[in-house]
Symmetry: C2
Subunit: 254 residues, 2 copies
């Protein structure tokens, strides 16, 4: 991983072993500025021209770096206005990680969450591995039910590394009306960028069936999610149980 060259004519820093193109290096620099908070969610970053000046590369190279970040939904381009840092507060991308649709419409509306509990626990072995914690660290465990159109539809158990979410309490969760990932961003400076999910069909156990107003043994869509922030660092483990009688999980493959 070589550093960026100062002038173009001298850019002979390229060796065959682990060659990294200039625009990838620029991309890393931009990611650093995002991670350190120099560019904050919702704000505009400097213009391509300014960034080209700052990094001493051509505008096209900056452009290609931004292209990739925009494709990953880390940045958002708006022609004529500027390039902005993605935020979970904008309505357009607010529920980008909730791929649930109603049988008729495209999007889910009128959602309401009931927080059941929020406690500090010792992490399981699996959680220690994923979060890179030791057994003496703690995790926050949130349990909640989400209603869509007044129907209880999702039961979730959410695990977070406690060290990143110091002031997270039951009260905060019940009083804040913003979506959870917006709360993470605004109150704790944790930006969720990407997540992996594992989907299964399972039978509703007694406890969950009661909460979701379905019969014991009813089929539920189980979604295990691991969410990541900068540097592929895992910051959330979430298991959700979805009633899919009136809603479905949509996916597009190519």
């Amino acid at each position: 991983m070589a550093l960026k060259p100062k002038s173009k004519t001298n850019s002979k820093q390229k060796v065959s072993a682990s060659f990294s193109p200039l625009y990838k290096q620029i991309k890393e620099l931009l990611l650093q500025s995002l991670e350190t908070g120099e560019f904050k969610p919702g704000t505009m970053i400097p213009s391509e021209h300014d960034l080209a000046d700052r990094f001493q590369v051509s505008q096209g190279t900056v452009r290609k770096a931004i292209d990739e970040l925009a494709a990953e939904n880390v940045l958002l381009r708006r022609q004529g206005k500027g390039t902005f840092v993605a935020t979970h507060h904008e309505p357009s991308v607010r529920y980008r990680f909730l791929r649930l649709s109603a049988d008729g419409q495209v999007e889910v509306k009128r959602t309401h969450s009931t927080i059941l509990s929020c406690e500090r626990l010792s992490p399981t072995e699996e959680q220690q591995k994923i979060f890179e914690l030791s057994s003496s660290d703690e995790v926050v465990c949130i349990k909640r039910v989400m209603n869509f159109s007044n129907r209880p539809t999702v039961y979730e158990e959410i695990y977070l590394p406690a060290v990143l979410f110091k002031g997270l309490t039951f009260d905060l969760l019940t009083h804040e009306k913003m979506p959870l990932y917006g709360l993470f961003e605004s109150h704790f400076g944790v930006q969720l960028l990407r997540c992996d999910e594992k989907l299964r069909a399972v039978s509703a156990p007694d406890s969950i069936a009661k909460l979701l107003h379905v019969a014991v043994g009813s089929p539920l869509l189980s979604i295990e999610r691991i969410a990541y922030t900068f540097g592929e660092k895992a910051v959330e483990i979430r298991t959700g149980f979805y009633v899919t009688e009136h809603y479905y999980y949509r996916n597009s493959l190519n």
Copy 2:
């Protein structure tokens, strides 16, 4: 939608109403060549330089058109070798539409399909709408069970517009060992490019439970898929029921 200009200095064809950049127009031309079969699956298309000559644009413009098609998995770039038309026969992308993983490993292996039936039917109203057929047209209905590691895991009902799959018979399906989408490509010239899925958890009805060796009422992952070829034309409707005891459906969001 303006045509491409012959020379760069005269390229004043751009009007504000429904402006289409040059590279999008080149992309459409490439898609036409793919659809008509000028570029066949698995073969190499002309070099960027040659295409630039042919379309009388710069290499960078051709490049951007190819970039988009590569991002959509329609084309496949291989540095130093060329750009190739995607095919469902290559091992690397063979199961790109089967997002099932085993609890341990990343990929599924040792799959085997048992064809249960293959018949011509009248299309339902929904099928008529999706395939743009009339009630006098026919659809082919295939039913099959897929085994992974000798476990019956998936039951599928597949519907196809009969007019596109003339020689498709039970015998052909049982004798051909290639994956279904490879068969579509090689025998019928139908290239599947993209699909939309709706996922739900459902209870196994009697008939399906027997086929999958699970108890009646067991939870199954239901996947309704509509698959498309060029021009967003739907060419397959598939409903699958997955036993997710040892396998899961993986997804990545950002």
